[in-house]
């Protein structure tokens, strides 16, 4: 972190080590004395929760990889062997499968929290960009992981997603198909595809862990944003990370783990698709190919465009847009608490994403019955996609200029501790 270290090695050995590898100093500065705004609320505990999720996925994943066989003929049964014959294999696999959903649940809360309180704004642009990078890596990792059990949805999901690249054929003939067969390692999703996806699924989490390190580094330089969105003005505005936020994070993490355990033990297939308990069969296409819930909004955007290449560009653009958010928002005020218009538009965006997710979960030709009139869901998807893009590229730059923001409080300390800003 920025600022000076207050670490004083207490023993001979730690004094010796501190001159050679100041790792204890680093730990002390980043996890103990790190000055943290005293007004962080529950939504700020999700950073710690996400670190926990990554740890759970890596630990359970390493154990699963000891028993899993990445071979098109054996993969499905090797997963069932884990479920039936490996000691606590069912527990490890259900933790890993539900852990992915919990990870995305937490990351979406974390991202929307960042949007709400303006945590992407100067001087935290790099912090936000690294976060978007982690999110993209998470999606790639989750996609590769979903292919590994080699059920029907694994196989057909892999086919649909990798075939998106073939849209490039419309740009340069054969380019897309060439890329697709290169990704597959053949002329269809098969054994070669499964093997490379397994390899990448094992690799990417460590890349995520690396970027998480950078993300935390980039957090500790400017320090945390906070629900008021105003800068820390002095030591009276902060508390040391330990014990204040270690205990707060631990408490909310324990609540999160209760939710997690609820799914693992009592509804382990809640997020899953029944079709994935049928072994992959290249000759039988499932009636509806649906991705996992956390990709559904983007799936709805993809399907909202009848032209394949443009659909793919809309999907990719929706993700790339996130990188530009720090510069699209023109408001000087960070937190939505003081931005009445942005606050409404934010909640519409949140609902918009839920609606897109719902549309993505329905069949391609599903329709709404509005008092006898049929409204194809694809029109809702188009409306939702338009709002998503409109929010980031039109509203965000615009409202920063026209919005009348509320008066900002003088300091964090005064806002939390009352007029004096002193501890009582």
């Amino acid at each position: 972190m920025a600022g000076h270290s207050t670490y004083v090695p207490a023993f001979g050995f730690t004094r010796w080590l501190d001159k050679r590898l100041p790792i204890l100093r680093l730990t002390h500065d980043t996890m103990t004395t790190y000055p943290t705004p005293r007004n962080l609320n529950i939504w700020y505990t999700f950073g710690g929760i996400l670190t926990f999720c990554l740890g759970v996925q890596i630990v359970t994943g390493v154990v699963l990889a000891m028993h899993y066989v990445p071979n098109a003929d054996l993969a499905f049964n090797s997963v069932e062997n884990i479920m039936r014959d490996v000691n606590y294999g069912w527990l490890i696999r259900y933790m890993h499968a539900n852990g992915a959903s919990m990870f995305f649940l937490a990351v979406y809360i974390h991202m929307f929290r960042g949007l709400y309180y303006g945590s992407y704004k100067e001087p935290r642009e790099v912090l936000w960009i690294l976060g978007v990078l982690i999110y993209l890596l998470m999606m790639a990792t989750a996609f590769f992981g979903y292919v590994l059990p080699w059920g029907q949805m694994s196989f057909w999901g892999a086919t649909v997603i990798t075939s998106l690249f073939s849209a490039l054929d419309q740009l340069i003939p054969h380019l897309g198909s060439a890329i697709t067969s290169w990704l597959w390692g053949g002329f269809a999703v098969g054994d070669a595809t499964l093997n490379r996806f397994f390899s990448l699924h094992y690799l990417l989490p460590f890349a995520i862990a690396g970027v998480v390190g950078l993300h935390i580094w980039a957090l500790h330089v400017p320090g945390n944003n906070n629900p008021l969105g105003i800068d820390v003005k002095g030591p009276q505005d902060t508390v040391p990370f330990h014990p204040y936020y270690t205990v707060k994070d631990a408490f909310y993490l324990s609540l999160f783990v209760i939710l997690f355990a609820g799914f693992v033990f009592f509804a382990p297939n809640f997020f899953g698709n029944p079709d994935n308990y049928t072994p992959a069969n290249p000759l039988v296409t499932p009636t509806d190919i649906v991705p996992e819930w956390y990709l559904l909004p983007f799936y709805a955007m993809l399907r909202s465009v009848p032209q394949k290449l443009i659909g793919v560009l809309v999907l990719v653009g929706a993700l790339v847009t996130l990188f530009f958010v720090p510069w699209l928002d023109t408001s000087k005020v960070r937190s939505c608490r003081f931005r009445p218009l942005m606050k409404q538009l934010f909640w519409v965006l949140a609902l918009d994403c839920v609606m897109l997710g719902y549309v993505g979960s329905q069949g391609a030709d599903a329709a709404l019955n509005l008092g006898g009139m049929q409204l194809p869901l694809v029109w809702l998807a188009r409306l939702g996609t338009a709002y998503y893009y409109g929010f980031f590229w039109v509203l965000l730059p615009l409202i920063g200029r026209i919005e009348k923001t509320k008066a900002l409080p003088e300091s964090i300390a005064k806002s939390v501790l009352g007029a004096t800003g002193e501890r009582t």
Partner: protein
């Protein structure tokens, strides 16, 4: 100040409209809801139903359907049908398993028949057909699916499988065309199913004297197949209860620690 959020209300209104959907008359009927002993956070498999269900599988379903993932030792494992190890051994020995090469390296006898040996606990239930083509040839071109995961592999789970098994009594509505060699079952997608009605009253005579109505047979075999799909359910529920008790206690203690640490800071 809490405004009435006009944009919020509009979005909410749109999402509520999503609940009213057009009726599709050609779609399968909604599944029948059955009370299963293994439902809910404390659910366990009914041992009697599991043993009777095993009998239904063995005497009826296994003529066409494999159960490839289930090993005989599982029949005596905790949380399963509760057979003793001796009973499981006897059940295994009742099946003929293709034998490993003998000491002359042969797997066929002098007449060209495949050598077999009695099953042991480590074996899995042998499939009724040697390969997919043989299964299709014997079933009018249709492939009877493996039943090891059937309950988890179908939307609706045990209710769906139960509905299919008991759904043959419906008469097709006038004008509905039942295809040649198929049967009417309103719970099946398309309502034309290749499986002939598998269960009839008295198809099996239960060892424990339970009356074998179609509903009883279906209930028991679905319980058995649910166990085959999820043999660790009882262990999962039990462990889950212990884990939850621990976590709630932990969360309580962490809450008290949190309150104490922050007492003077906000």
């Amino acid at each position: 100040m809490r405004h009435a959020f006009p944009l919020l209300a509009l979005a909410l209104g749109l999402s509520i409209c999503g609940l009213a959907f057009a009726e599709d008359t050609s779609a399968p009927l909604p599944v029948k809801h059955v009370q299963w002993s293994f439902e809910g956070p404390f659910g366990t498999y009914d041992r009697g139903a599991l043993q009777r269900g095993f009998q239904v599988y063995k005497e009826v379903c296994s003529a066409c359907h494999s159960l490839n993932l289930v090993a005989f030792h599982a029949l005596a494992a905790p949380g399963g049908p509760g057979f003793t190890e001796a009973q499981a051994k006897a059940i295994a020995a009742g099946y003929k398993i293709p034998a490993e090469p003998n000491d002359k390296g042969e797997i066929f006898d002098a007449n060209g028949n495949r050598l077999t040996r009695p099953g042991i606990l480590a074996d899995h239930f042998p499939p009724p057909f040697p390969n997919e083509e043989a299964a299709r040839a014997a079933n009018g071109g249709a492939l009877p699916p493996d039943l090891s995961l059937i309950v988890k592999a179908r939307e609706g789970g045990p209710d769906y499988v139960y509905s299919i098994l008991t759904g043959f009594s419906h008469k097709p509505p006038t004008g509905f065309k039942v295809q040649d060699g198929k049967y009417y079952n309103p719970y099946f997608a398309g309502r034309n199913i290749s499986m002939p009605p598998p269960l009839a009253a008295g198809s099996v005579s239960f060892a424990d004297g339970t009356r074998s109505s179609v509903a009883q047979e279906a209930h028991d075999v679905v319980t058995y197949l649910s166990w085959a799909s999820e043999p660790t359910l009882e262990e999962r529920h039990r462990t889950g209860f212990e884990v939850m008790a621990f976590l709630v206690l932990l969360a309580g203690l962490l809450f008290l620690a949190y309150r104490k640490v922050w007492k003077d800071e906000h």
